[in-house]
């Protein structure tokens, strides 16, 4: 499964939607994912890609990880994977 398909699957489950109803340019807000849903989605992304996402719910915009849309999340995952050097990475 591609990164995009995996992210869409995670967000679709969180939003209780079918994956086909989550487009790459959908925003989390448009999917109805609230602040707790964001935190759960990030946890699922960390588990799926074995990365650590530097996200603080007190300052969601401050983190170097843009959670606005499916596309921005994918870009963030790709960057973190490169930085954190794959599955054996430590935080």
């Amino acid at each position: 499964m591609s990164v995009q398909d995996q992210v869409i699957a995670i967000l679709a489950e969180q939003a209780v939607l079918e994956p086909r109803d989550v487009s790459p340019d959908a925003t989390l807000e448009s999917l109805g994912i609230d602040s707790m849903g964001v935190v759960e989605s990030i946890f699922a992304i960390e588990e799926a890609f074995d990365i650590t996402v530097p996200f603080n719910a007190n300052a969601p915009d401050a983190a170097d990880f843009d959670i606005t849309s499916v596309a921005s999340i994918i870009a963030g995952i790709e960057r973190l994977r490169a930085q954190q050097n794959g599955p054996s990475s430590a935080p």
Partner: protein, 402 residues
């Protein structure tokens, strides 16, 4: 209705192992937050906390006590010794049957749970110590105080997350006020700074990585602490008759529930709790000079709390001082309200308002006098202390000078 006063106070927390040391630290704006020292700390994302250090449990307690006392009980036990000694109270046979102890805790013996899960799951052992249950149970600290002081009246533990000790003290207050008990030992205790306890908080993504900066625009979340605060609540005439030194009056309390969200606080629930405490205490908004804020340093709490204060105090908000001592002793979770009550007592007795340290930048969403960075001298006749918990459970206690 009886009047209720406080005749003894004790504490153990990151700022000190007794009340004088703790108040001195609050006066001086000392920060008790430091890098966490614990097993597997290198596996933590969040590596700071307000730990109790230099406590030396091995020399404070007997071997038998150590097998039964989780750290949350140890902290409560030491704090209670101080409170009982200060009160000068003798628990006579007649008093014993009516005096009790109500304490708050959120995690109870979570360190004991953590250690023993490790034993059976990680280390694969098939046997744990025989006293794991009486050590980890949430009422262990209250039970040990009942045993120690022969308190044979109503005793139990209250658990409402971060409001636990305020709910416990509110409960003790109404029990003394109603005449049910002439004396109640009360407060709260917490020792959640263990690997599993920090991991659980980490998951919520609300923890700061550098410092606790309540009400500062650049705040980045809460920092966990640990410890206990224990008080002797006593019926006024009972205290007067024996010539006790009265620290202050517990004037009123209120408890409300948001009934809106499991973690996001509401202005309405917080405002109703503060307003309710004023009404219960017979205080006008203008009578209150200081509020010890819940002030966790999270975006959600600080904005909501400031909006609620503005709603309740209206024009009087400008004259009000409100500080969060969590910036110094961290968030003691179920024990936090008890340690924070000390700041209110200091304001009433010594005319010193504890500061909110680590403040760097005013936040337009928190346009209150948050006593930034430096303690202040002020004559205060009444105070409130706020606790707004996950689960939307709120408890506010009003104290008055006597």
């Amino acid at each position: 209705m009886k009047r209720v006063v406080i005749t003894g106070a004790g504490t153990v927390n990151a700022l000190g192992h007794d009340v004088p040391t703790t108040l001195e630290a609050m006066r001086n704006g000392v920060c008790g937050i430091a890098p966490l020292q614990m097993r597997d700390a290198d596996r933590l994302q969040i590596r700071i906390g307000a730990q109790v250090t230099g406590f030396d449990a091995e020399n404070r307690f007997s071997r038998q006590q150590l097998t039964l006392f989780d750290p949350f009980t140890q902290f409560a036990f030491v704090a209670a010794e101080e409170a009982m000694r200060q009160s000068g109270l003798e628990i006579t046979e007649a008093l014993a049957d009516r005096a009790g102890v109500v304490l708050g805790t959120a995690g109870g013996g979570i360190s004991t749970t953590d250690d023993n899960y490790r034993t059976v799951y990680a280390e694969g052992k098939n046997r744990v110590h025989p006293f794991v249950v009486p050590k980890l149970m949430n009422n262990a600290a209250a039970a040990q105080l009942s045993l120690r002081y022969n308190l044979r009246g109503p005793s139990f533990t209250v658990s409402s997350a971060c409001a636990s000790s305020n709910h416990a003290m509110a409960q003790a207050f109404v029990m003394v006020r109603s005449g049910m008990a002439p004396v109640m030992v009360t407060g709260g205790s917490e020792s959640m700074l263990c690997f599993g306890g920090v991991k659980a908080w980490e998951g919520l993504r609300v923890m700061a990585r550098d410092a606790c900066r309540p009400f500062s625009r650049d705040r980045s979340g809460m920092v966990q602490g640990e410890g206990a605060g224990i008080f002797v609540f006593e019926e006024y005439d009972h205290a007067r008759a024996r010539g006790a030194d009265i620290l202050c009056e517990v004037a009123g309390c209120a408890m409300t529930s948001d009934a809106t969200d499991i973690v996001m606080p509401s202005v309405d629930g917080a405002a109703r709790a503060m307003r309710g405490a004023l009404v219960d205490a017979g205080l006008a908004a203008g009578d209150v000079g200081y509020i010890n804020a819940h002030g966790t340093g999270t975006a959600a709490n600080d904005k909501t709390e400031c909006a609620a204060v503005a709603e309740v105090f209206g024009q009087q908000t400008q004259q009000l001082m409100i500080s969060s001592t969590k910036s110094m002793h961290g968030h003691l979770i179920g024990g936090t309200g008890a340690v924070e009550l000390l700041a209110c007592i200091m304001a009433l007795r010594e005319g010193v308002i504890a500061p909110t340290i680590n403040h760097r930048e005013d936040d337009p969403d928190c346009p209150l006098d948050v006593v930034p960075n430096t303690a202040r001298q002020a004559q205060v006749h009444a105070t409130l202390t706020n606790a707004f918990a996950f689960g939307g459970m709120n408890a506010v206690i009003a104290l008055r000078k006597i």
